[in-house]
């Protein structure tokens, strides 16, 4: 468990909740830079399948991650509400997460997060809001995978 998660456990964190396929996920709202519509991307050679390409965000070039492919859930095809959540990791690396729709915001107590098995590294746990189960996305691991992954031919 990282320092950040330990700190998060003690106090409530505002999370943004979004849907990918039929499942809901959340990330801390402070890591979100902006939410924008999905636009045409530039395909990148030798990219992992979950990278849909690069976009231009006011002069900064970002890669988009299709969370449906990344999280291995069936995507909702032809969904007009697909949006890109632009996030910035604690190391300052930015990327866009392609999600099916943004639902709402929620205050989540760190202690409410129930851990899941360790081998599921992209989620740090599950949390219940009402009777919905929401996965807490581990943003750092997503972003690091993007940057450190050795592009294979």
């Amino acid at each position: 468990m990282t320092e950040e998660e330990k700190a998060a456990e003690s106090k409530a964190v505002k999370m943004i909740v979004f849907a990918v396929g039929d499942q809901e996920y959340c990330i801390p709202i402070l890591s979100v830079r902006e939410i924008r519509g999905f636009e045409k991307t530039t395909v990148l050679p030798f990219a992992p399948p979950y990278v849909c390409g690069a976009i231009n965000l006011r002069g900064i070039i970002l890669t988009l991650i299709d969370l449906a492919i990344y999280l291995n859930v069936p995507p909702q095809l032809d969904n007009p509400r697909r949006v890109v959540v632009i996030v910035e990791s604690t190391q300052g690396i930015m990327c866009g997460l392609l999600v099916d729709r943004v639902i709402d915001m929620a205050d989540i107590q760190g202690s409410d997060i129930q851990s899941v098995s360790d081998d599921c590294s992209s989620l740090s746990g599950l949390v219940m809001i009402g009777n919905r189960m929401i996965g807490v996305l581990r943003l750092e691991s997503v972003v690091n995978q993007l940057v450190e992954g050795v592009a294979s031919e």
């Binding site: 231009n56 070039i61 992954g149």
Partner: protein
């Protein structure tokens, strides 16, 4: 070291850099035969400022050396020494040492070789020393010292000014003042006090001031020279003396304490009242009492350490080349170590700063002001909804367009810097290389005012260093060979910079022996860089020197011969988006031409479409474009293709599938598909098959690696006019992957044929 101090120190080191540049410029002018007083003054000022600044930061090593340097320069300034070539050479060498000392003090890196400092110091001293000997032997030399061995004769001259000072400051009756409880001050300076440019004399003056400030106050000073070793064991830059001063009772301890505020950390001192049991032991008093009645010159003229004495009397400096040379390195070593440890605290906090001419900033400011006005105009146009609106709107946008272009140029101008700074550094590289190889080479600079992007200026330093060293080590022949070939004994290298159609062209031209192609070829074959039966053109042979691991040097010297140099140069130039070419005429010399983009931020690119994506390829790497004729292609057994261009077979790279963008699309180059022939710097070529060539444009380079990873075959990305992202292709990498495949096959084939 506190934060504030660190900031000030930072400014000091920045100034040091400027002073060193000034120094270099001045000395270069002197070595070119100029001897104007203003130039000499500028050189002197530069060293003096460094010394002054260093003294306030307690950078002892630096102060000590700058001091000797300054003294010698003063000899030139006052006209006693003529700035001959030899003298200027010594100064140039000293400047190198000085700049190394500055770096040492700044970065706390490896300390400068004390031997080198000592050597340079002795040379410096010899400049004025030799002269002083000629002019000043009839100066006041204490007669007692005459019988001492001849080598030492000039040394006593150090002592000469001191009695004068004492005469001025302490011209009192030395009889002790019988005040009720006189204040007794003893102090013993450490070596460090003199090293940082301070002097015991200043403390004595301070004490005298304190004494005469009270009514009828007098001061009695006695000098304790008991620690003074026999003359032949005397180290001129050590401190041996201590003083005891008796001040009137009215003087407050605090006043005396304040005298030691400045130098207190580099001397031992005690302040006490007479009769105070805590005062210094009777033994010490006895010693001081006994002393003045002792030998002759000492009570009148206490010999001060040689080095600080130089400060007061650069006119009468020692010519003690012989003996101190032996003792000095030992004396310097501890100080160097201490300063190294000191430097570690300072750490490297170098900030990237840039000095810009004010007019450029003003210009930028004006343009931004205009942009704001243009934006307001645009806004009002939009609000006014009338018939002529589209036309006026168009005008507004057009004016904004030209404004943005101007702003872009203005910002580039702010970042632009003359290559002078890097070129001047090369003088030193040449000097060092010359002294290592024993060759005599003159470096001429041309076009130092050519401006290029700041980042480029910095990155030029290493490649140029390598190339100049190579030129001196391999290019310029030995003096005998040069004379035999009917050339002047002194080699000549021209380093020039100029602008040429959006590029900066840097040429390094030497008048050496040129590239020995037979030897290069033989070496390349021996090292397995090329096949033994390869037939290469002259250009290809020349380019072999850029091959990794190539070296013709029989022996590995400090300078070159490890076979990494030119390979590194080529990589560095390539990574800057430049090209490097060689022209070499045997017997006449070699010319290296570097062509570099003016800025690393903008690139001249060709927009192409491959695999459905628009991409950019740097124009600099495209040799030609042509339409492929099916009859010119040949399919290899593994499906890869070769194409023959005017008799040369080069590998064909279908760009779309090479980048994994159009795996499914027919790999078959369509009839009439466009091929770009790209070349890397070693002359290897490949044909990139693309769908179409769309445009040519200046594109702004954006890093992909900041938010993503490295992509093979792609060097960066850019944003096109429509806002979409486009990839910039890495032509050398694409060629390397294509040629690598072919080459292994070719050598296999050759092996088969040979068998």
């Amino acid at each position: 070291m506190s934060g504030d101090m660190g900031d000030i120190l930072l400014v000091f080191f920045q100034e040091c850099d400027e002073q060193l540049q000034e120094l270099e410029r001045g000395l270069s002018a002197l070595s070119d035969g100029e001897s104007e007083q203003e130039t000499i003054n500028a050189v002197f000022r530069a060293v003096h400022s460094i010394k002054g600044g260093a003294a306030s930061f307690g950078l002892e090593n630096l102060v000590r050396f700058a001091h000797v340097f300054e003294s010698s320069l003063d000899g030139v300034r006052s006209g006693r020494v003529a700035p001959t070539q030899d003298v200027v050479k010594i100064f140039l060498k000293a400047m190198d040492v000085l700049s190394d000392l500055v770096v040492e003090a700044r970065d706390g890196g490896p300390s400068v070789d004390p031997g080198r400092i000592a050597e340079s110091q002795i040379e410096l001293e010899s400049i004025i020393g030799g002269n002083a000997e000629a002019h000043k032997t009839d100066d006041v030399v204490p007669s007692d010292f005459v019988p001492i061995p001849m080598d030492f004769v000039p040394v006593p001259m150090d002592f000469e000014p001191v009695p004068v000072d004492f005469g001025l400051d302490f011209g009192f009756d030395p009889a002790p003042v019988q005040a009720p409880a006189p204040l007794i001050v003893t102090f013993c300076p450490h070596d460090a006090m003199y090293a940082r440019g301070d002097d015991a004399r200043n403390i004595l003056i301070g004490l005298t001031d304190a004494a005469v400030a009270v009514e009828g106050g007098e001061i009695t000073v006695t000098c304790d020279a008991s620690a003074l070793p026999p003359f032949d064991a005397l180290e001129p830059d050590r401190s041996y003396l201590s003083w005891r001063a008796v001040l009137p009772a009215e003087v407050l301890e605090d006043t005396v304490q304040s005298v030691f505020d400045w130098g207190g950390d580099v001397c031992d001192f005690t302040i006490s009242r007479e009769g105070d049991p805590a005062s210094e032991g009777g033994e010490a008093i006895a010693a001081t009492d006994a002393q003045p009645s002792g030998e002759t010159p000492l009570d009148v003229a206490p010999p001060e350490p040689a080095v600080p004495a130089l400060a007061e009397t650069s006119s009468a400096v020692t010519a003690a080349q012989a003996t101190p040379a032996v003792s000095r390195p030992d004396a310097i070593q501890p100080a160097a170590v201490a300063s190294g440890a000191n430097g570690a605290n300072v750490r490297r906090t170098e900030q990237a700063t840039i000095r810009v001419d004010l007019p450029r900033i003003d210009n930028l400011m004006d343009l931004v002001g205009e942009l704001v006005i243009a934006q307001a105009a645009l806004e009002s146009q939009c609000r006014r909804n009338n018939a002529s609106m589209p036309r006026e709107l168009g005008e507004c946008i057009a004016s904004m367009q030209s404004l943005t272009r101007d702003i872009q140029d203005a910002v580039m101008a702010v970042r632009a810097q003359p290559v002078r700074s890097v070129f001047q550094r090369m003088q030193r590289v040449v000097r060092e290389a010359c002294s290592m190889t024993g060759k005599d080479v003159v470096l001429t600079l041309e076009g130092e005012d050519t401006e290029v992007d700041r980042t480029l200026v910095e990155k030029l330093s290493d490649p140029l260093t390598h190339m100049l060293r190579n030129a001196i080590d391999h290019g310029i022949e030995k003096v005998e060979d040069r004379l035999a070939a009917g050339k002047p004994a002194i080699g000549h290298i021209l380093l020039s910079a100029s602008h040429r159609s959006g590029h900066i062209l840097i040429t390094i031209k030497d008048d050496g022996g040129g590239i020995n192609r037979e030897r290069v070829l033989a070496t390349a074959i021996k090292r397995g860089i090329i096949a033994p039966d390869a037939v290469l053109t002259d250009d290809e042979i020349n380019n072999l020197i850029f091959a990794p691991g190539f070296s013709t040097a029989d022996t590995i010297s400090n300078l070159s011969g490890r076979g990494v140099g030119m390979d590194v140069v080529k990589q560095a130039i390539l990574s800057l988006g430049g090209r490097i070419t060689i022209q070499s005429v045997p017997g006449n010399g070699t010319v290296f031409c570097l062509s570099l983009p003016l800025t690393l931020a903008v690139l001249d690119g060709m927009l192409i479409v491959a695999g459905g994506a628009t991409m950019v390829i740097p124009v600099s790497s495209v040799v030609e474009t042509m339409i492929i004729k099916p009859q010119d292609t040949y399919v290899l057994p593994d499906g890869k293709k070769m194409v023959s261009i005017r008799g040369d077979c080069i590998p064909l790279v279908p760009l779309g599938s090479e980048l994994g963008l159009s795996a499914a699309v027919s790999d078959e180059p369509r009839d009439g598909a466009v091929m770009l022939i790209v070349e890397n710097e070693s002359g290897a070529r490949a044909g990139l098959v693309v769908d179409e060539i769309r445009d040519q444009a200046h594109v702004v380079i954006k890093s992909m690696e900041k938010n993503y990873r490295r992509i093979p075959g792609v060097s960066a990305a850019t944003i096109l006019g429509d806002g979409s992202v486009s990839l910039i292709l890495d032509a050398p990498a694409l060629i390397a992957s294509a040629v690598g495949r072919i080459n292994t096959k070719l050598s296999d084939a050759r092996a088969v044929l040979a068998a």
